[in-house]
């Protein structure tokens, strides 16, 4: 038998990654600085790329000329309307499917059949139906947001512990109260995390729809800049999209923290 002697070694190292907020900011700034240096010192050709200063200047010029706001406003409007319409409709159908047997199988069958269709493929159809204007774009977004919302709401409702619903019934709570005070708040965490998916889907569809037929909007602007080999403006458009994504995600994070403080 081996003899054991000495200190017990500590063995529980690692497997505990931590977040360092300063490191996230530092990394991004470092990468931008590296990019700028690479361009300034001629390590990379700027014929087909750009550099942070040039992109910043492009954004400044766009802002001064007002072009930035026109495109941004057009995109944000479509994004907001499309997302809200799709979300409200998705919440409504999700509730019905989540709560009623008669709606469940039919509803899920339709949703499952249409969910996998790439929504971008519907843009031509929507242009025929709703015209080349705002209608087709908003419809594309709304459609793309609708299906994942339904699926999320149903999953959220299914995840509410039945024991809590039985509790409500055992206290003779009305159907309406059970839905409003038990089912919906219980499904809220899943619904809110679904919003992260649907907002990013909406941004993808927004750009795609704007590239297919729009005069204004960030998608149209990026496409046009590409056609003109104007890489500064093209990347300025991408920066705007990234900022929109970050802002949306920040807002959702705040919303989650405010509404889900109990977790």
């Amino acid at each position: 038998m081996p003899t054991l002697e000495g200190m017990v070694p500590f063995r529980a190292r690692g497997f505990a990654p931590r977040d360092i907020p300063a490191a996230s900011v530092g990394t991004l700034i470092g990468l931008l600085a590296l990019w700028q240096a690479a361009a300034s010192f001629g390590w990379i050709s700027t014929a087909f790329t750009s550099d942070p200063f040039s992109i910043g200047r492009a954004l400044w010029i766009l802002a001064r000329s007002g072009q930035l706001w026109v495109n941004l406003w057009a995109s944000l409007q479509r994004l907001a309307i499309g997302w809200v319409v799709g979300t409200v409709a998705g919440l409504a159908l999700g509730l019905v499917v989540g709560l009623f047997t008669v709606a469940r199988s039919p509803g899920m069958a339709v949703v499952s059949a249409l969910f996998p269709v790439p929504k971008i493929a519907l843009v031509p159809l929507f242009i025929i139906w709703f015209g080349i204007g705002e209608g087709s774009k908003v419809a594309t977004l709304a459609f793309g947001v609708f299906f994942p919302t339904v699926i999320n709401v149903v999953a959220g409702i299914d995840g509410v512990p039945r024991s809590l619903i039985r509790m409500g019934q055992a206290f003779n709570m009305s159907w309406r109260s059970i839905v409003l005070k038990i089912v919906l708040p219980g499904a809220l965490p899943v619904i809110l995390s679904g919003f992260r998916i649907t907002t990013s889907t909406a941004i993808i569809l927004l750009v795609a729809a704007e590239m297919i037929g729009a005069e204004k909007g960030i998608g149209a602007f990026v496409l046009e800049a590409g056609n003109l080999y104007d890489i500064d403006n093209l990347l300025a458009g991408l920066v705007l999209l990234s900022v929109i994504g970050l802002v949306v995600s920040w807002v959702l994070g705040r919303l989650e923290r405010a509404l889900l403080a109990w977790r």
């Binding site: 512990p161 024991s163 809590l164 039985r166 509790m167 409500g168 019934q169 055992a170 206290f171 003779n172 709570m173 009305s174 109260s177 005070k181 038990i182 708040p185 219980g186 809220l188 889900l260 109990w262 977790r263």
Partner: protein
């Protein structure tokens, strides 16, 4: 508060989940204002029986009846205390009690006083604003009983409310529960697999056999609940008797594979 004058009677209650017969011809009489303990090995159908008694499960056969007058203040005649407390995690302690008052005729203006009253009774006054996740298991069960008392039930159905707790919390809560139940003077059916709880709380003790649950024996303890002491030799004797009755069944139930006889 006037004593509950409601009697709860079950006759020939039989229930099966698919091919698994869980209860067979169970008769039960919960006398007005008394505590009827249902005891039996785990898996014998105690929760199923309680669900049937409270109208949360429809029995395959048999019936459950109520008879008598509930107190004038009663807002929910048949009220539960659940094994897992079943609190809404997104409502504070006070909010969880409020929940069950919001759909009742109790005027909203009287709600805060009612909530404060039951929180005081269950020693929770300092925790009114706490989230359930901040509470220990014992405190959560206190909220469960506060919530049940708030609606002034005529019949109180309690499903192993202490079984998820450690021994110390259980002993502390048991004392408080005994006093609260005695004072609220409701007709109470208390399910447990714990012999000490049965002897401390039961006025009538119904012993179920292992699955399918049938009534094996009914035992009376005439001594009032308040003032019972866990070391009382008479109660220890009752415990020993109960253990004799369920030991073989408990041993067999332990070796059972869930659904093997289905």
């Amino acid at each position: 508060m006037s004593a509950s004058a409601v009697r709860l009677t079950a006759r020939g209650v039989t229930h099966a989940f698919h091919a698994l017969t869980v209860l067979e011809g169970v008769d039960l009489d919960a006398a007005p204002g008394e505590v009827t303990v249902v005891i039996g090995p785990s898996g014998c159908g105690k929760s199923t029986l309680l669900g049937i008694l409270g109208g949360l499960l429809a029995p395959a056969a048999g019936e459950v009846r109520l008879a008598g007058a509930a107190g004038g203040e009663c807002l929910n005649p048949i009220t539960y205390v659940f094994q897992d407390a079943s609190l809404l995690p997104w409502r504070s302690v006070a909010g969880n009690v409020s929940l069950v008052l919001e759909d009742t005729p109790l005027p909203a203006s009287e709600r805060p006083a009612r909530i404060a009253e039951v929180l005081a009774q269950t020693k929770l006054s300092d925790f009114a604003a706490a989230w359930p996740k901040q509470l220990s298991g014992g405190m959560r069960q206190r909220v469960g009983i506060a919530r049940a008392l708030a609606v002034r039930p005529a019949v109180l159905l309690m499903d192993e409310p202490l079984s998820a707790l450690d021994a110390q919390s259980r002993a502390l809560l048991l004392d408080d529960f005994a006093a609260l139940i005695a004072r609220a003077s409701v007709t109470c059916v208390y399910v447990t697999h714990n012999l000490a709880e049965a002897a401390l709380l039961g006025q009538t003790i119904v012993v179920l056999s292992r699955r399918p649950g049938k009534v094996r024996a009914v035992r009376r303890i005439e001594q009032p609940i308040e003032g019972r002491h866990p070391e009382d030799p008479r109660l220890l004797e009752v415990q020993a008797e109960l253990w004799e009755l369920i030991r073989d069944d408990a041993a067999k139930a332990e070796r059972e594979i869930a659904g093997a006889d289905a």
